[in-house]
């Protein structure tokens, strides 16, 4: 009922109703003396009059269809031509200027459908247009950076690439990636008009919070735009590794040196003879072991084991490894030999296909050729690729509980070092081991929802934690968190940052765990933001469920009608006795 009919003063309904009833009862009692026929007539007229009076007080509203008025919402950067052509088509077009974050339901009620021209409505204002049939008139693509993708949080030494697409309306635009000091690091010349993709990359040298810059220059070298690229660079954490081998090989020797020189804690065990081992401890304390115990494996991040040793492990050792993998997330890297690839899947965990080539070129290093075993991975469910060569999988891991087991078909990788490609060698193994290594489980895991964060605009983030009642604090005080209905570890929060620059949100229980985000002012990344808003508007309003005919508004019935009915009724009731007397 409330949907089709309502009152403005719905709160008065009880006192007014009771009063009306009492009034009606009084009238009935007062008119009792009248002849029956007349009595019924009077009673009816009195009822109508009282109802009219009641409605006059309560001000009823009914749902009404549109009255045919079109509106246009003028948002940022709207085109004059677009507006003019709209005006030509709809004579009674109502122009509504758009102001962010200001309610406009009053104006919107009077129109039946709405056009949006320009960049569109900000996402946080979408709710305002929920009941209005809206059409977003696409303004095309603005000039400048339209899309941008890069790691906001990364680690020292990792490849850092800024990818995006750029629309140029003039030739010979140049995009330059500059480091926080202003050194140009990488640049790309955009020679074609229209939209083109770009990719800029850099090595992040030092940890900390940095503001890289993307400079846009025109053909004469004048800087058109200088946009910030905030990035949080974390330092790398050393690993604890255990290397078990039947006998030393060149490959394992180089790998051992690489890992030890990187400062990782490494224990290497080589078999000398039956029951005799050579233990090497790098950056860690001495401790001898002969069986792979749970206590030992639990302290390790990665177990590197050659295929031969793996095959010769006792049943209980294998069970222990699997247990630690499942519950503790241990990573196992199998250093393969020829026989390993011929093992059945339940022994090796992987399925391999035989092939003839013994050389491979990885996608990361297109001009390097690596030696490999004449096998390749068969793609299976749950297989995660680490290295790829075209469509073939060169290194991969699969999950076992929390842990991972991985291997590669690349062999004799040390030849990379001998050929002078030390960097590629280090990258290869760093990627390999990082992918497999045990993960760090933070008490709180933060995930920002927005990529471009502006001052005084809502910024939402997700916190994942197993804490019972997590409390987080931003610059403006505590931020309320909303727990997910089904996933109890997931909380969302929204804050309105005020200070431009780096902001942090921290947890009350774990002061080390913080979310760092960079707040920009409105003038930054304009084209990117405009394009984003346009795309969101396009998406949001293209599947709008409200059509122009459906649009109904609760409208007040004008009180004059009730007044006239009331007056007429009262007039009759006043006049009738006099006429009857006469």
């Amino acid at each position: 009922m409330t949907n089709t009919f309502s009152f403005v003063h719905i709160d008065f309904i009880w006192p007014v109703g009771i009063g009306a009833l009492l009034l009606f009862a009084l009238f009935l009692w007062k008119e009792w003396s009248l002849p029956r026929k007349l009595y019924y007539l009077h009673a009816l007229i009195a009822l109508i009059t009282i109802i009219a009076l009641v409605l006059l007080l309560l001000r009823p509203m009914i749902l009404e269809g549109h009255d045919g008025t079109q509106g246009v919402l003028l948002t940022e950067d709207y085109g004059k031509e677009q507006l003019d052509s709209l005006k030509k088509r709809y004579k009674r077009l109502k122009q509504i200027p758009y102001v962010e974050n200001v309610p406009m339901s009053g104006i919107l009620d009077s129109i039946s459908s709405l056009f949006i021209v320009g960049n569109g409505v900000r996402t946080f204002d979408f709710w305002q247009l929920d009941g209005v049939p809206t059409t977003y008139l696409d303004a095309g693509e603005p000039e400048g950076v339209l899309q941008l993708n890069y790691e906001r949080e990364t680690r020292v030494g990792d490849d850092w690439t800024v990818r995006g697409s750029y629309k140029a309306n003039q030739e010979k635009r140049k995009l330059i990636l500059a480091d926080p000091g202003g050194n140009p690091i990488d640049s790309v010349l955009i020679d074609t008009l229209g939209r083109s993709d770009f990719e800029l990359s850099n090595d992040l040298k030092v940890s900390g919070r940095y503001l890289y810059h993307l400079l846009e220059k025109d053909s004469s070298g004048v800087t058109i735009a200088n946009e910030p690229l905030p990035v949080l660079v974390k330092s790398k954490k050393e690993l604890r590794l255990l290397m078990i081998q039947g006998f030393p090989t060149f490959d394992s020797k180089y790998l051992k040196n690489f890992l030890a020189e990187g400062g990782n804690e490494l224990i290497v065990r080589n078999q000398l003879s039956r029951g005799k081992y050579k233990f090497e401890y790098f950056n860690t304390e001495r401790r001898s072991f002969y069986a792979l115990s749970q206590e030992l494996l639990e302290t390790m991040d990665v177990l590197l084991i050659d295929a031969n040793s793996l095959a010769n492990l006792s049943e209980s050792s294998i069970r222990t490894i699997e247990k630690v993998m499942k519950h503790d997330g241990l990573g196992v890297l199998v250093l393969p030999d020829d026989d390993f690839f011929r093992l059945p899947i339940r022994a090796s965990n992987f399925e391999f296909l035989r092939e003839t080539t013994s050389k491979v070129t990885l996608d990361e290093w297109p001009d390097l050729s690596l030696e490999k075993y004449p096998f390749t991975f068969e793609n299976a469910i749950g297989l995660q690729t680490i290295h790829r060569s075209n469509d073939r999988i060169v290194s991969a891991y699969s999950r076992m509980g929390r842990g991972r087991i991985g291997t590669t078909v690349v062999g004799n990788s040390y030849q990379l070092v001998l050929n002078g490609n030390k960097e590629a060698y280090q990258q290869f193994w760093a990627q390999m081991i990082t992918a497999i290594a045990k993960r760090n489980e933070p008490i709180l895991d933060w995930e920002p929802m927005e990529k471009l964060i502006y001052d005084n605009e809502p910024f939402s983030f997700v916190v994942r934690t197993s804490e019972d009642n997590p409390q987080v604090f931003g610059a403006n005080g505590r931020i309320a968190l909303r727990q997910h209905l089904d996933i109890k570890e997931r909380y969302t929060g929204t804050t309105y940052p005020r200070a431009i620059g780096w902001n942090t949100i921290s947890s009350a229980n774990d002061s080390l765990s913080t979310l760092n985000f960079y707040v920009m002012d409105n003038s930054q990344w304009e084209s990117l933001r405009a394009f984003g808003t346009r795309m969101q508007n396009k998406r949001h309003f293209s599947d709008a469920k409200v059509s122009a005919n459906d649009k109904k508004v609760l409208r007040q019935i004008h009180p004059i009608w009730f007044f006239l009915v009331g007056i007429a009724g009262m007039g009759y009731l006043w006049l009738a006795p006099k006429l009857i007397k006469n």
Binding site: R155, G157, D158, D179, P180, G181, G182, N183, D203, L204, K205, V206, G208, R209, Y210, L211, K236, E238, L239, L259, A260, E261, G262, G263, N264, L272, S273, R274, G275, K276, K278, F279, E280, Y281, F282, N283, S288, G382, R399, M400, G401, R402, E423, Q426, A430, Q431, M432, T434, A437, R439, N440, E441, P442, D445, R464, T465, I487, K488, E489, G501
Partner: protein, 738 residues
């Protein structure tokens, strides 16, 4: 009214002055040019004086006499009627007519002498001056300078500029440098005079003594000399402030003083660049690396050596080593030979010659001489020495058997018989040489004997081949020469059938069969087997040797044949071929022995890891590879600078951080000062001075710091991952459905 003579005197004076001006103008131009080129006033003055003197000599202004002036005037003014000379004579000595003329001339001169210009070419002097002026302007504009330029930037030449460290207002005008001087005294052994300069950027020889002297207009409280390590207070004396040090390492330094109002002022950074004394360079001319002498040659080696060093050579000599003997019995003898040319110590370039007489060294054929030149320079305390490449000289020994098995070999597998083929050749050659002198009978019998020897040798090889071993080398029948010759005619029959045993013959056929190679295909397994049972295969040699040996035996067969036919000439080529083959066999045998050392036979699988393990123990090795980061502070400084850019809150702890990072950068800057010097300078200021730094300045420093940090090494790391119950459930499901 002036007398005529006075007129002339005045004109002469004018002339002289103009001449002087011209000389000065001529001298001024080149002097100006020299000044702008050298920027040295002394040179300019010398040039001025030199050119002036030349012009003076050329012009000879002292030769200007009144007579000459008169003649010139006569020439210039026709109205004087060539009578100017009269003016020089007193009127009393003249005739009345002459006096009249004198008077007339004087009148004329009075009227028109000022129209005459002395015979001096002012114009060309001005042109020369103008040209020189233009040239020097150009030289000045484009910075061409004759003065040698150092690698240090030119800024060091300027006066030392001090900037206050405190941003607070200065109450007093700070002291200014009025005098700056740097004396570089090279080490004594270089015999170089001390260099005095006002350029504060230094490039000097290792061990040089440096002395700085500064004088201020108002003496400050204290003056410090700061280098990478520490700050030294400069000692004060009547001449100002002084600091001395010995140059031991490259680096940077700056000055700092504390003024009377106890404000600190710091100068720019200056480079201290050290270069080392180079070792002498030896160049040997007219000498081959290897020289070989025959026994009867003139065994002298002559060569010239050019030795150069940057600060002089003290000594040079030839070190000669004579080796005699071979293998284990080799003996060495070393001698130091002086050069023939007398050595002048301390010279930078020496040209020396040497003649080595091998006979004087007591060398005999087979001996080898190795020698090289060694040179020592003047450096102190430890002189640099350098040596040339080694040169060789050998007197060829014709007596040694070049086919001898190497003395270094582990085992000499070759039997003695192998050596007699050469003896046979020698004997055959001797027989051929003596053919004319010997009676035919003797010749024939000797040839036959040689044939027998050849047979005996062949049979011995047969033993190695696995032929039936005969008990001793018995040759049952001796056939007469005549019979043999008769048989020789018949080509179709085997001419040797009568001389040989049957099994020899069959063996020959057998050998020939082998030669054609078809036999090899008979048994494909042959090459993989080591069949001891088959006598044919039971040899001391490997398969590859066997075929060679068979070939050698075939050659011996033919050699024997022709010896038996008394034609040793025809036999010789076969003998040589046999010898060559035997030599090859020896060589391959040698390779075989060497290979044994490299490739041990594989241990059988079932024998592996079954040995006695009592003495094998587990082995433990512990190593801490400290990842020492020599740019640790620089990295921290980069992070801190970025923070400072965002929020300018300079703290006391930053001072130490920037100081340390400055020290790290200084190490890099020593190698590439141009790249890092500016950043280093600013880092130093940042660590010393407390003031508001603009964002632009901080960014500039950060830029330099980031440029100095090298690309990090890829390292594996731990990633973060949030685990939720839902994730675990999914993983479990995955596993159960796997």
């Amino acid at each position: 009214m002036s007398s005529g003579k006075q007129l002339l005197l005045r004109f002469k004076k004018r002339w002289s002055i103009m001449q002087a001006i011209v000389i000065v103008l001529y001298a001024l131009g080149p002097a100006m040019l020299i000044y702008f080129l050298t920027k040295d006033i002394i040179w300019a003055v010398f040039t001025f004086m030199g050119v002036g003197l030349l012009a003076l000599l050329f012009r000879k202004p002292w030769q200007l006499t009144l007579e000459k002036v008169g003649q010139y005037l006569d020439h210039e003014l026709e109205t004087t009627e060539y009578s100017t000379g009269l003016l020089l004579v007193s009127s009393g000595e003249l005739s009345s007519l002459a006096r009249l003329q004198q008077h007339k001339v004087r009148k004329v001169l009075e009227r028109s002498i000022h129209k005459v210009r002395p015979n001096v070419h002012m114009k060309s002097a001005f042109i020369v001056l103008g040209a020189c002026g233009l040239l020097s302007l150009l030289a000045n504009q484009y910075g061409t300078s004759l003065r040698s330029t150092d690698s240090v930037p030119a800024q060091g030449d300027r006066q030392i500029l001090f900037t206050p460290l405190d941003s607070s207002e200065l109450k007093y005008t700070p002291p200014n440098i009025v005098f700056q001087e740097l004396v570089i005294q090279y080490p004594a052994y270089t015999n170089s005079a001390p260099v005095t300069t006002s350029n504060m950027n230094i490039k000097a020889l290792e061990g040089s003594k440096l002395k700085w002297r500064l004088r201020f207009d108002t003496p400050p409280n204290q003056v410090f000399f700061e280098d990478n390590e520490a700050a030294y207070s400069m000692s004060r004396n009547s001449n100002g402030y002084e600091h001395r040090m010995q140059l031991t390492a490259s680096g940077f330094y700056n000055f700092k003083f504390e003024a009377k109002d106890s404000t600190s002022h710091q100068s720019e950074l200056y480079a201290l660049e050290l270069f080392e004394d180079e070792a002498p360079v030896i160049e040997i001319q007219k000498l081959k690396q290897f020289t070989t002498f025959e026994f009867d040659d003139d065994k002298t080696i002559e060569f010239e050596a050019v030795l150069t060093d940057d600060f002089g050579i003290t000594d040079a000599y030839v070190v000669a080593t004579v080796s005699r003997g071979e293998g284990e019995s080799v003996k060495f003898r070393e001698e130091r030979l002086p050069f023939e040319t007398r050595l002048r110590q301390g010279e930078n370039t020496l040209q020396l010659s040497k003649k080595i007489d091998l006979d004087n060294l007591g060398m005999v054929p087979g001996d080898e001489l190795y020698f090289y030149i060694s040179a020592v320079d003047t450096k102190e305390p430890r002189p640099n020495t350098s040596r040339s490449e080694t040169y060789f000289a050998v007197i060829r020994d014709t007596l040694t058997n070049q086919f001898a098995v190497e003395g270094t070999m582990g085992a000499d597998l070759m039997p003695d018989y192998f050596r007699s083929q050469r003896q046979l050749i020698i004997d055959t050659e001797k027989l051929i040489a003596d053919k004319n002198r010997l009676p035919k009978n003797d010749f024939n019998s000797t040839s036959n004997e040689l044939g027998f020897d050849q047979k005996a040798l062949r049979l011995k090889y047969g033993e190695f081949m696995g032929d039936e071993a005969e008990s001793g080398i018995t040759v049952a029948e001796e056939v007469t020469v005549e019979e043999a010759q008769d048989e020789d005619v018949d080509e179709d029959e085997d001419p040797l059938s009568k001389y040989t045993h049957d099994h020899d013959g069959s063996n020959e056929h057998h050998l020939l069969d082998h030669e054609d190679g078809e036999h090899e295909d008979e048994d494909p397994l042959e090459s993989y087997l080591h069949n001891h049972d088959d006598p044919e295969e039971s040899t001391l040699f490997t398969q590859s040797l066997k075929s060679k040996l068979r070939q050698a035996m075939t050659e011996m067969w033919d050699a024997e044949l022709y010896l038996r036919l008394y034609t040793p000439e025809k036999s010789l080529p076969y003998q040589y071929r046999a010898l060559k083959l035997i030599q090859e066999i020896k060589n391959s045998a040698r390779i075989y022995v060497h290979r044994i050392g490299f490739d041990p036979p594989p241990i059988k699988e079932d024998k592996r890891l079954t040995g006695e393990l009592d003495e094998i123990v587990s082995f433990q090795k512990k190593e801490n590879i400290s990842v020492y980061d020599d740019l640790n502070f620089l990295r921290k400084a980069a992070e801190r600078l970025e923070q400072l850019i965002e929020r300018n809150d300079y703290q006391e702890s930053d001072r130490i951080l920037f100081k340390e990072s400055g020290n790290e950068l200084a190490q890099l800057a020593i190698e590439e000062p141009g790249k890092y010097l500016e950043t280093l300078q600013k880092l130093k200021w940042l660590s010393d001075r407390e003031r508001h730094w603009s964002e632009k300045e901080l960014r500039q420093i950060l830029r330099g710091v980031l440029a100095a940090i090298p690309k990090p090494i890829a390292k594996p790391t731990k990633q973060g991952e949030a685990i939720s119950d839902l994730n675990e459930l999914v993983l479990q499901e995955l596993e159960t459905n796997d």
